[in-house]
Amino acid sequence: MKTVIRTNNLSKVYKDAAAPVHALKNVSLEFIQGEFTAIVGPSGSGKTTFLNVIGGLDKPTEGSVVIDGVDIATLKESQLFDFRLRHIGFVFQSYNLIPVLTATENVSFIMLLQKQPKKEMERRAKEMLEQVGLSDKLDVRPGKLSGGQQQRVAVARALASKPDFVLADEPTANLDTESAFNLLDIMARLNKEENITLIFSTHDQRVIERASRVITLVDGAVAKDEAFDR
């Protein structure tokens, strides 16, 4: 099985507070292709920081993040932008779609940045929106979609460009039960069909119950790392 991400002694210290805050402490983990991982832990345990660091949005104070054999700390900012664009998909808690673009345009956006051929882009965007059950909302802007529908568009956007892995920061936090289950069903199916590695930070028991691996962070350190056969 291919290792997609490997972290070595990852530490992150925020020094701008009155006292230094150790958000991550010596986190060493490996993520295998196709894994559905939930990062859990109480608020302030370092879940979001961990996702930011492995997503190349934030730099670690110590340690390294190796993705697809590349230590991302060695990349210049412009290289890191390109790297993120080609390897990582993001799903955020608050959907974060581009309000002036339609559902199709939002899903195509990353592929557009990757300069994929227009026809392929349109085909893939349509296919992804069909997969998340929004084939009737192709030309609708986010403002006219419900929260659950917007999050499904965000998932379609993250997966459309076929990234190596998708980082999802509490994606079900703002969704009602039905929408959350719906979204999780879609993500689980896509995880299997597209063999995309999914890493969630979450408090949501519904997500945890679906994950094949659950990593518990406490005070920035790995407290538990459990695998499940699901």
Binding site: F81, R84, L85, I98, V100, F109, L113
Partner: protein, 406 residues
Amino acid sequence: MLITLAWRNLWRKKRRTFITVSSVMFATILAILLMSMLSGMKDQMVDSLVRTSTGFLQVQDALYFDEPSMDHSLEYGEEVENAIEMHSGQISFTVPRIQGFCLASKEISSRGVIVTGILPEKEDLMNNLSSNITEGSMFGPDDSFAIVAEDLARQLELNIGDTIVLLGQGFQGMTAAGKYPVGGIIRFFMPEQNNTMVYLPLQEAQWFFVAPDRLTSLIIMTDSEEEVAPLAESLQSHLDDEWYAVKTWEELMPDALLAFEARDAQVKLFAWVLYIVVGFGIFGTIVTMVYERLREFGILLSIGLKRWQLATICLLETLFISFIGVSAGVAAGFPIVYSLFVKPIQLTGELADVMIDMGIEPIMSFSIAPGIFIYQAMSIFFIALIVGIYPVKKVFRLEMVSAARN
């Protein structure tokens, strides 16, 4: 894609965009009106000034400008005629004059005057001189009476039919002396002209100054002020500069030129104050737009948009707002300016009196020179570009994580 995003972003908050575009539009209209009025009035002042004094261009003897005496008058011969003929396409008409300082007297009163020999039909083309006659009539080619300025006539107690005695310096040391019946009284707007001018028919004046076929200046008029400089250069190249000098109105009236330049500087300063006010209006909107969207910027950068792409979107938004505002301003401003150009505002009251005293027709003229519209558009774009630096700078300094958490 960047253009589409920028364009659509503008219409996310239609009311705000509408207000900003409106402020740019009204500022543009105001700036166009202001610049058109000031430019129109300047053209009018230049035109009035040159028509009532030096004309746009003069051919003179090479030494006359520094030592204006009859000995430095010009022989209007073949060389000058040929040069004028060669440029006939650029010249509207010419006005010959012979002019000298003299003493004018009637009985025991005397005054220093300027005696000018003219061809009335040519002067009428230039400044409609005959229309200023308040008593008597303008002389014809065969007449030999004088026309005297109104205030001078009052000072010397001259009436139609009285005799004015003139004494001065003629050509090559000859005495210029003569007595002429007063056949007309003429009124000038400018007091210095109204106190000093005496007109004689050109031939009579040449005889008076003992300078047959000589002129002190040959005035050349063009259709517009823009043609003056190239025509002067070309004319001079066809005349021997040891004998002839071609002078523009700017060279002949350096004080007037300085006054116009000072006025232009004031106008530009005022216009830039206006532009800065517009700039702050746009800046306010842009700052609000940026701060409202910091989180969105963070997200866009997170998902793969490059900083320069995001900066371009922000800059395009600023430029779109400016472009729409400026275009609307020009579109709305042009008909207003054009109607004022066709039908200038007639001035009354004290302002009109001041203008009349200055020898300027009391109307508020407007200019429709393309440069006015282009200059406004370019200036506001320039300001928009400067304002556009702010979001660009913000984007390049943005920390993705903190912005996305915003």
